[in-house]
């Protein structure tokens, strides 16, 4: 275990936080602290520099214009790209997921340059995917079934070296039956907003990458509500 605190950097909550994105930061902090691991949090607005020394970087969802602006600022800033290059963990959801790729669709669907941290390309699909999504994670990652909510019109294609994060059980995801993508320590997903809330194992995967060792278990009493919530969401609901 590293001796110093885990540094979580929430990137541009002023631009990329449409719906509950704060949840990912809170879940990571809680799951670290329950294990006695200290956490330091930096919320970096778009008029501030992105620190280069973070351990986990979080990018949230955003509307078209803020998404384009965020991509431009992050490219000019360079902090996130530098951190990703040295192996820092990046969790990018929704608009953030598209930003870390090479290209995404702008206001009228025109291509906009992304940061190119991961070899994916996104465009606009024919219809908006709105609703609950279930997806089975790549077994190599050892993470249980994902449950979340998606609300996007994006379609994402992966380059040869990028693996899908999961296979869609129900919902839309990338648009080709897969959901999200990962490469190295960069994870992207269309599960929007507080994606880690219902997926504590995904949060632990990210924390584990930072620690570089197996994480201590969390007292099951502290996990009960989250497991209840997972159970509710994974059980087929009447429409």
């Amino acid at each position: 275990m590293s001796e110093s605190a885990i540094r979580i950097v929430w990137i541009y909550p002023d631009l990329l936080s449409t719906y509950g994105d704060r949840g990912n930061m809170l879940v990571l902090a809680r799951r670290a602290q329950l294990r006695g691991i200290a956490v330091q949090i930096a919320q970096v607005n778009s008029d501030q520099r992105v620190p280069a020394d973070g351990d986990i970087y979080l990018l949230g969802g955003g509307e078209d214009l803020p998404q384009i602006l965020a991509a431009r600022r992050l490219a000019a800033d360079g902090g996130l790209a530098g951190a990703a290059e040295r192996g820092a963990v990046v969790l990018a959801v929704c608009a953030g997921y598209q930003i870390v790729g090479t290209e995404f669709g702008g206001v009228d669907g025109e291509p906009v340059a992304g940061l190119g941290l991961i070899d994916i390309r996104s465009g606009r699909g024919d219809r908006r995917g709105v609703g609950e999504i279930l997806a089975d994670v790549d077994p190599a990652l050892g993470v249980e079934r994902l449950t979340g909510f998606e609300n996007h019109q994006g379609v994402t294609h992966r380059g040869a070296d990028v693996k899908p994060l999961a296979t869609v059980v129900s919902g839309v995801g990338n648009g080709d039956g897969t959901e999200g993508a990962y490469s190295g320590h960069i994870v992207g997903t269309y599960l929007h907003g507080p994606a880690l809330v219902r997926n504590p194992a995904l949060a632990d995967l990210l924390l584990g990458w930072v620690i570089g060792a197996p994480l201590p278990a969390i007292d099951s009493r502290q996990e009960r509500l989250v497991q209840d919530l997972r159970h509710e969401r994974l059980t087929p609901q009447p429409a």
């Binding site: 936080s17 719906y19 509950g20 949840g23 879940v27 214009l65 609950e132 209840d228």
Partner: protein, 406 residues
Amino acid sequence: MRARLAATVGGVAGTASRLAGRGDGSVIGGVIGLKLQPDLLSLLATGRQVILVTGTNGKTTTTRLITAALGTLGQQIASNAFGANMEAGMVSALAKAPDASIAVLEVDEKHIPAMLRKTSARVVVLLNLSRDQMDRAAEIWLLARRWREALAAVPDCRVIANADDPLVAWAAGEARLVTWVAAGQRWHDDSWCCPSCGAHLRREGDDWHCLECSYRRPPVRWLLLDDQVLDPAGRSRTLDLVLPGRANRSNAVMALAVAEEFGISVAQALPAIAQVRSVAGRYTQVSRRGCELRLLLAKNPAGWLEALDVLAPGDPVLLAVNAQGPDGRDTSWLWDVDYRGLRGRPVFVTGERRTDLAVRLEADEVMFRIVGSVDEAIDLASSPSLEVIANYTAFQHIRAVVGRTV
């Protein structure tokens, strides 16, 4: 008036109008009327002074406060007072009051452009804009842009707009007649960026300006400062309302600005506004099992922030959350609300999505108990009073259980 209406709205339209005016607070009549006569709203609005009220939060309450203020004129007023804010609800309200020369109509924020055209409104009130039911609504910047275009196209309509909300200010930015009101903005998380150029907005107190373009808060005519309202003549008065909270003082100042447009002084309007005590069940006090319940409706993060501010210190609170169609099926918004202020107070959670809420409170280190019903919360709280905050269908459910007293 009736004769004029009969003359204007004759034949099929007359039948449509009569049908639209029937029913008991429902919109069915309006729906049928519009089927028979698609331009029924325009016909029914003709010759009346129409005031439209819109925004993410406070529509129903502000509509009620404006109606109270204009009531001092002694004229009949048509109003969709119970929140039926789509076209059919507006048609029903107008058809029910054929003799009313004034209409105060709440309008769903997505429908403002069309309703401005159809009603030839004399006044439109823009309260605020923030995230709400993102699974159904368009992005709010796009909504603001539609408002902006629609308002630029109605140069004779008086726009009464909250200058403290940058998105609202931008939406009203190309209107010709604007009364700017510093009505306050508690929720900032949808307006950190300049609506005009996208750069980060600098905020200093209530003031705001863009760091990169010339966009800034417009100079205001009305000002709300804590519980004081400063009128255009510079006179200060205390807003001593029966309705609780900062959000309602904000709604009241907007209503005073509308009253001014109709020649009603603050001295005349304020007493009428101040005594409004309950709005379509909201803020209602209900006695049940020896406990005084107060019902607060909160439908989105900005609304929850305002509701949490209103809570009586130390009182136990019941939080209820559903995720049915009218609530939005996505509970992600729970993570936009800061619940830490509830620490140390007895908290109960219920509703169809109580587990989502429980996980949220756990993350904010708020202690709580999960309950299956209002009565269970009342019994466990064993307190003379209990505050209840619920989102839309959860609120309606609780109202049905405790009895609709209003």
